[in-house]
């Protein structure tokens, strides 16, 4: 299963976007992460790294034995990371480089991309690449 991480400068924005995307996400793991860790606006690479691990199934839902018990569907097929602006992109980039999980950043608008990614991730044959591609297709969404 492909996991999704939503990164925003605002923790509440990340949570809200994850909430919207979760409507379409089935049992896909969506991890919101944001804020400077002190209640302010910003992002922290370590926190993003933890969210990537959680979305990959590493720490969120129990240990490896649990994952094995639940069968193949819970094994991680990687993580697609949605980001908002500027330094959030850089911090996500650092987190991806330092993470052991297979993670990629989608070059997409964060909310529309997260919704697209959530839908794509419910496909049983979804891969990191197919989910990223669908997230990036959100760049072409026209609203009027």
């Amino acid at each position: 299963m492909v996991g999704i991480v939503v990164v925003s400068h605002s923790e509440r924005a990340a949570e809200g976007i994850a909430e919207v995307a979760a409507e379409m996400a089935g049992d896909t793991r969506i991890e919101p992460v944001g804020g400077d860790g002190k209640g302010g606006i910003g992002t922290v690479p370590d926190a993003i790294g933890d969210a990537i691990d959680a979305a990959a199934g590493g720490t969120d839902e129990g240990d490896a034995t649990d994952a094995e018990d639940r069968g193949d569907a819970t094994e991680s097929d990687g993580v697609v990371v949605l980001v908002d602006l500027g330094s959030a992109v850089m911090n996500a980039d650092v987190a991806v480089e330092l993470s052991d999980a297979e993670a990629v950043i989608a070059d997409a608008p964060v909310l529309e991309g997260a919704v697209n990614a959530a839908v794509a991730a419910t496909d049983p044959s979804a891969t990191v690449e197919s989910v990223r591609e669908q997230a990036e297709a959100a760049r072409d969404i026209e609203k009027l």
Partner: protein
């Protein structure tokens, strides 16, 4: 503690102290074109980094650099965290055999490359790249081509960085928050480039102090006049010098 490790700890200390002293200056620069947090963020981050470096038990240079990078990454907000800190974490690996002229050049090149890639910035974008690029190029050439003493190479690099900082003033920002200002960013000195210069100045001061020499008076201008047709110049500065 290895000599190199101790030297890097001393350098980090000096940087932290100087950044604290320049906190208001950096904040003023940032308030003109950004969100006025650069001075405070850098001061807090470097103070934490200096504490973390001092707490290490008998570290080598690589360990100190990596620890400082990780601390900056976690403590300095905004883009400065991943740019100053994240780049340091990756470039630290070049110091695994200690600090020599060769490893220092490799470190500097890797650091610049990481900053450019991460920030997607090039010379002329009104960023710290404008200070670092001339500094790293001048340092590399001074070591590899001109074969000057490392302390003089570092002094030339600082001079080059100073010119780079001056170069950020009359150009338009194309990266970072200042780029949202468009043409209004023209006429302002980039805070990130200024911090990069401050860090280099302190590295030079600490190096001179530990070598017990005066800081050489020098400028970045080349002591050598190239014979080659610039069109044919190689990317490898050492290759170009073989014809001398």
């Amino acid at each position: 503690m290895t000599d190199d490790g101790a030297a890097v700890v001393a350098a980090v200390d000096a940087v932290a102290e100087r950044i604290e002293a320049e906190r208001d200056h950096l904040t003023r620069l940032d308030s003109a074109i950004g969100d006025a947090d650069h001075g405070g963020n850098m001061a807090r981050g470097w103070a934490e980094a200096a504490d973390a470096a001092r707490d290490l038990n008998d570290p080598d240079a690589e360990t100190v650099a990596k620890t400082v990078g990780k601390t900056l990454m976690a403590e300095v907000g905004g883009a400065a965290g991943p740019l100053f800190g994240g780049s340091l974490v990756f470039a630290a690996g070049e110091l695994d055999e200690g600090v020599t002229p060769e490893t220092a050049v490799a470190f500097a090149e890797t650091y610049l490359e990481k900053v450019e890639d991460r920030g997607d910035a090039r010379v002329g974008d009104q960023t710290m790249v404008d200070a670092l690029t001339p500094a790293v190029h001048t340092f590399k050439k001074s070591i590899e081509v001109d074969d000057v003493e490392p302390i003089e190479a570092l002094a030339k690099a600082v001079d080059a960085a100073e010119r780079g900082v001056a170069f950020t003033v009359p150009i338009r920002a194309r990266k970072g928050r200042a780029s949202y200002l468009g043409w209004r960013s023209v006429g302002h000195q980039d805070p990130g480039a200024t911090s990069a210069l401050i860090i280099l100045e302190e590295l030079l001061a600490v190096a001179a102090e530990r070598l017990d020499v005066d800081v050489p008076e020098t400028d970045a201008a080349s002591p050598t006049i190239p014979d080659d047709d610039p069109e044919e110049a190689s990317d490898d500065p050492a290759a170009a010098s073989e014809d001398d």
